[in-house]
């Protein structure tokens, strides 16, 4: 217990200092110096500063205990305010710890990051974000649309009023109102299974799809009424806004890191050398892999430098030739992508026109999904082959490949949707079935349900493809590589987990879900289950079948790219949503909006039923008297934030310059001291053990020397 019994603190410190000076081994515990003479500054901040200061001191433990004792003796009795702020701080720290504990899949993702690096880990973090987003969306939809519908379906009939706007004239439109989704009562079992896969049959007229919901306003008693169509519309709109909000918040967090670190581009080599090693790695295998990674990354960086130098030294003729080649190859890539789009459009039109039963019918229904998946495999593969001819440096190649893949995926989905919509609204001019009902009644008795089914099929097919690739490609590949010692097979090697294609797959799936959410309210739930299963499957395949990528994927700047691409998907889905809500006439035979002229028109009608004050308030908000000042205020806020950002940037640059100047100061002072020592040296006797080396000569200088600029700087230099 001798640490706690009192030697005088100052004498201990002095003896330590003397011990440091006289030892032959240069002092290696030099660290930011703790100022024993400091007194606590007022009662307010002290409670917060001291534990932090203590934790941050790089001293051995027994020294920290002494410091702590000194502080405990010095602080006046903590006031109530200090105690409360301390308690609050502890509470926040505990809450943050508890929240970190509850984070989904925390350990698994940590393990993945340890074995495979930040790039692969960022994929799984992105997947987790999407799972949570989809689950929360499902809760939203369930709470406001699904559960009320279930409740009201079980209520007696006379409590619900059919919501029919008085402006519609439905004479002559009786044929449009026929909707018969129920098949015959007796079905063969495998048809039941086919129905599950394609969303028809028993699934079509169920809570799964739009067509089942009623356009009723339920009045339970005088005070409570629930307008289901309005709830449906507002819930879906709010769901989209909620997703946008989540994406922007996450993007803000990720962007903050990227901006602060300069996008990872600056200081590449020193970052790699000093922060490249993961001290949490265990096991010889992981260590060797990490060493290989670091070596490969450094070699790639050096190679890039060499290529850049070479590119600068090309003659004019060679440059022109290179650019012509690149332009030609880009044309080929564009042609490939356009070919894929044409194929998708043709497949969609064909599939919509021909309906058959049984397995053939199922294949026909899945034809658009099949074509999209095939093109998503084949076209990027061909583009990669072409990219090797283009002779860019490695990072540009990766970025180009990513851009092309993003373009292919999102625009192919857009082509599919456009084809579907033009079929529904008869814009391709070939069908004349749009006349009475203002949508293509011949093909679609309930077009919203049909769209919902298409999105459901796309989701399901994407899921089945992922699982099939896992089982049929990755596991066999590993078994072949492990058991066969053929040179060629060993050269091909195990599967590598490529992050960009996987992330694009997630973005594509999420965009499909967003597009389908209006027409298939349970799709977020389906997607949550799908993503959870995909998480576990990908984790299993990662650990069993994959080798760590030799090319390490830089995770900081690419995280922003993932969220940007997700945002593009959101924009595509919301365009579709707005167009469907505002332009196309809802089906007469099904759904909550059956007799409205458009889905959006529910809102103005419900508006009339609001109390007068609410109406006035909402009118005021929508009017120019409110929106123009709001717009001006937003502009002012934007300018303020931009000015703040630029000021911070400038102050960072100023501080960096100051840091350089301080360094120069230090060198100047060190030189001065050396000269002084040289002048003093001939006058003094030959030294004892005190002044053996250069460093120790400086250490004997009086800390209160007038040359010293500031104590912390001094201690860095002279300890």
């Amino acid at each position: 217990m001798c640490y706690f019994e009192g030697q005088g603190y100052y004498s201990t410190e002095q003896s330590l200092r003397l011990r440091r000076l006289s030892s032959r081994v240069p002092n290696q515990n030099a660290a930011p110096h703790f100022d024993w003479g400091s007194s606590p500054e007022g009662g307010k901040d002290d409670g917060e500063e001291e534990p932090r200061n203590l934790r941050e001191l790089a001293m051995p433990l027994y020294m920290k205990k002494k410091v702590w004792q000194v502080q405990q003796m010095r602080i006046p009795v903590a006031s109530g305010r200090v105690r409360r702020s301390r308690a609050l701080r502890l509470f926040y720290a505990e809450a943050r710890n508890a929240l970190a504990m509850v984070t989904l899949w925390r350990r698994a993702i940590h393990k993945i990051g340890g074995h495979f690096g930040g790039g692969v880990q960022s994929y799984f973090v992105f997947l987790r974000f999407l799972v949570v987003l989809n689950f929360l969306s499902f809760l939203l939809i369930a709470g406001f649309v699904l559960i009320p519908s279930i409740v009201f379906h079980s209520l007696p009939f006379n409590t619900s009023i059919s919501h029919m706007p008085n402006t519609t004239n439905i004479t002559g439109l009786e044929q449009c109102m026929v909707y018969d989704p129920n098949p015959g009562a007796l079905t063969v079992f495998y048809i039941y299974f086919l129905d599950l896969l394609s969303g028809t049959g028993f699934m079509e007229y169920s809570y799964m799809f739009y067509g089942y919901y009623n356009n009723t306003m339920v009045v339970v008693d005088e005070s409570f009424s629930y307008n289901i169509p309005l709830a449906y519309l507002l819930t879906v709109s709010f769901y989209f806004l909620f997703c946008l909000f989540c994406i922007i918040v996450r993007m803000g967090g990720v962007a903050r890191v990227a901006v602060a670190t300069g996008g990872g581009a600056a200081g590449g080599y020193s970052m790699m050398v000093f922060t490249g090693w993961d001290y949490g790695l265990q096991g010889g295998c992981a260590t060797r892999l990490k060493q290989n990674n670091i070596r490969y990354q450094l070699q790639v960086d050096l190679e890039e430098e060499r290529l850049k130098l070479k590119a600068r030294s090309l003659t004019l003729l060679q440059t022109v030739g290179l650019y012509t080649l690149r332009g030609f190859l880009n044309l080929i890539v564009i042609a490939l992508i356009l070919g894929a789009f044409t194929a998708i459009a043709a497949a969609t039109t064909f599939s919509q026109k021909n309906q058959r039963d049984g397995i053939v019918g199922l294949l026909l229904e899945y034809l658009p999904s099949i074509v999209i998946t095939v093109s998503n495999f084949v076209v990027p593969f061909l583009c990669d082959l072409i990219a090797q001819l283009e002779n860019h440096n490695p990072s540009t190649t990766i970025i180009l490949a990513l851009l092309r893949a993003v373009f292919l995926r999102l625009v192919s989905l857009a082509v599919l949707l456009y084809t579907l919509w033009s079929n529904i609204t008869c814009e391709n001019g070939m069908d004349t079935g749009c006349e009475p009902c203002s949508y293509n009644y011949q093909q679609y008795q309930c077009w919203e349900t049909r769209i919902g089914q298409e999105m459901y099929k796309l989701t399901l097919f994407d899921f089945l493809t992922t699982i099939a690739v896992l089982i049929l490609l990755e596991f066999p590949r590993r078994m072949v590589v492990d058991n066969c010692s053929n040179k060629l097979i060993q050269w091909v090697g195990r599967q590598e987990f490529l992050v960009p294609p996987n992330v694009l797959g997630l973005v594509y799936a999420q965009t499909v879900v967003w597009t389908g959410a209006l027409f298939c309210p349970l799709l977020p739930l389906v997607n949550t289950i799908k993503f959870v299963i995909i998480f576990y499957c990908k984790k299993i395949t990662l650990f069993h079948n994959c080798r760590p990528a030799v090319k390490v994927f830089r995770s900081t700047s690419s995280n922003i790219v993932f969220f940007l691409v997700l945002l593009f998907g959101w924009i595509l889905a919301s365009t579709v949503l707005i167009y469907s809500m505002a332009e196309i006439h809802p089906s007469y035979g099904c759904g909550p909006f059956r007799f409205s002229s458009s889905m959006w028109s529910t809102i103005p009608e419900s508006f009339q039923n609001l109390p007068h004050t609410a109406q006035d308030f909402l009118t005021y908000i929508g009017s120019q008297a409110f929106s123009i000042p709001l717009f001006i205020f937003s502009c002012v806020l934007l300018c303020y934030v931009a000015a703040l950002a630029s000021v911070y940037g400038k102050s960072v640059a100023l501080l960096k310059a100051q840091l350089k100047l301080e360094g120069r100061d230090k060198q100047f002072l060190v030189k001065q001291i050396e000269e002084l020592q040289k002048k003093l040296k001939p006058k003094q006797d030959p030294m004892g053990p005190m002044a053996l080396s250069h460093d120790h000569v400086q250490a004997t200088c009086d800390p209160q020397d007038s040359y010293s600029s500031s104590p912390p700087l001094h201690s860095y230099a002279l300890d």
């Binding site: 081994v25 200081g267 590449g268 070699q299 840091l659 860095y716």
Partner: protein, 180 residues
């Protein structure tokens, strides 16, 4: 036998370090420390024995065994600079290496680890040794020279061709793993 001395020691550690090492972890750490050298480390710390476990036994711990910097890590936390750790130093090492240690502390010790010749500067030789440990000496000498040159060029602010702690901390503070 885990006695009252250790309990108080652990509690104080806990308070001082604000729980990167808590009471139960301290007990486990003592167990680990004991099993490194059972004949050397007593279970009973009441008499406050001055016991130090030598470097060669500590670097065989599974957490450190494969780490290329294991020798430097242990040396940085030892008082005599030769790698012999007392129990306090042992606890220190694990508390700094834990996830919850503040990043400034980690930066200080990282600097010490990479400073092979212990002169409070990371000079070109230190960098070469670091790089060789990182890549298992598989880079050519020319590549090593290039990378070291570029590293110093990127981080050296005061122009003395070596990295002081200020340069190192400035560069490290931009690393994304250090931004919490």
């Amino acid at each position: 036998m885990y006695n009252s001395y250790c309990a108080i020691h652990a509690m104080l550690t806990c308070i001082i370090l604000s729980c990167p090492v808590c009471v139960c972890c301290s007990r486990r750490l003592h167990g680990r420390y004991h099993e490194l050298a059972p004949h050397l480390v007593p279970m009973d710390y009441t008499r406050n024995p001055d016991v130090k476990v030598p470097l060669s036994l500590i670097v065989n711990m599974p957490e450190l065994k494969e780490n290329p910097f294991r020798n430097r890590i242990v040396e940085a936390f030892s008082e005599d600079g030769l790698g012999n750790l007392s129990f306090n130093d042992f606890v220190d090492m694990f508390s700094v290496l834990s996830e919850t240690a503040p990043r400034e502390l980690k930066a200080i010790y990282a600097f010490k680890i990479y400073d092979f010749n212990v002169d409070n500067f990371i000079c070109k030789e230190d960098l070469e040794k670091t790089l060789n440990k990182l890549t298992k000496e598989e880079l050519t000498q020319e590549e090593v020279d290039l990378v070291c040159g570029k590293t110093i060029e990127e981080s050296d602010l005061d122009g003395d061709n070596k990295l002081s702690f200020a340069d190192f901390e400035n560069m490290i503070s931009r690393a994304p793993e250090f931004l919490r």
